[in-house]
């Protein structure tokens, strides 16, 4: 019940395309859903986050879609660029300060 399942493990997208990464959770106590971006040799960096009272949040080319009833959320990267090539982690956090991470998706954008 504490798992966050992330898919796919790896993804290749053409430049200009849409990258989509999906996550699913089971514990309804989660109330905060961040996404992290990690470049090789660097620490994960907070990219965008959403709370379950909204169904979508957009920041530039990055959008989180959230489906509370299905307990799923996804990251969409519009107009994907080679500089977006990185590993992306979804996560789910609850009020008791626990945060659970997905296992990551390695994204490669073809130039």
């Amino acid at each position: 019940q504490q798992q966050v399942k992330q898919s796919p493990q790896s993804l290749i997208v053409q430049k200009g395309g849409i990258s989509i990464i999906n996550c699913a959770y089971e514990n309804t106590a989660f109330d905060y859903f961040p996404w992290y971006q990690q470049f090789p040799g660097k620490g994960p960096a907070l990219l965008i986050a959403i709370r379950p009272d909204v169904s979508e949040k957009k920041e530039g080319r990055f959008t989180i879609s959230f489906n509370k009833s299905a307990k799923q959320f996804s990251l969409h990267i519009m107009d994907s660029q080679p500089g977006d090539s990185a590993t992306y982690f979804c996560a789910a956090a609850s009020r008791d300060d626990k945060i659970i991470f997905g296992k990551g998706t390695r994204l490669h954008i073809l130039p």
Binding site: Y32, K42, G43, P44, A45, A93, G102
Partner: protein, 111 residues
């Protein structure tokens, strides 16, 4: 980077030797975390701290101990390093909305 530094950034050691990794933050955050990152496993919580001298175990705490004698420093100790502890270690702090901010990481190799 939320004012987080980790030292050392790289370390090579031998099996059976003690190792201490340091995390230092400059913004007076109460919560601090230690994670390890391994291929296929994502980020796994080792220990965390919710105040000076207040710590608790995470998912993979066996073989690790921590100490926090002042707000800004959180130390992770491997009492007797083993090859299975070869990993990249990240320190993190908790922000205002339960998000976490990560340090740059320490790459540890145990021969």
């Amino acid at each position: 980077d939320a004012g987080i530094t980790q030292s050392p950034r790289h370390k090579v050691t031998e099996t059976g030797t003690p190792v201490t990794l340091r995390c230092h933050q400059t913004e007076n955050h109460r919560y601090m975390y230690w994670y390890r990152q391994d291929p296929g496993h994502g980020l796994r919580l080792i220990h965390y701290s919710y105040g000076v001298k207040d710590t608790d175990k995470g998912e993979v705490s066996d073989g690790y101990s921590v100490s926090r004698s002042k707000t800004e420093d959180f130390l992770l100790t491997l009492e007797s390093a083993t090859s299975s502890q070869t990993s990249v270690y990240f320190c993190a702090i908790k922000g205002s909305y339960n998000e976490q901010f990560f340090g740059p990481g320490t790459r540890l190799t145990v021969l």
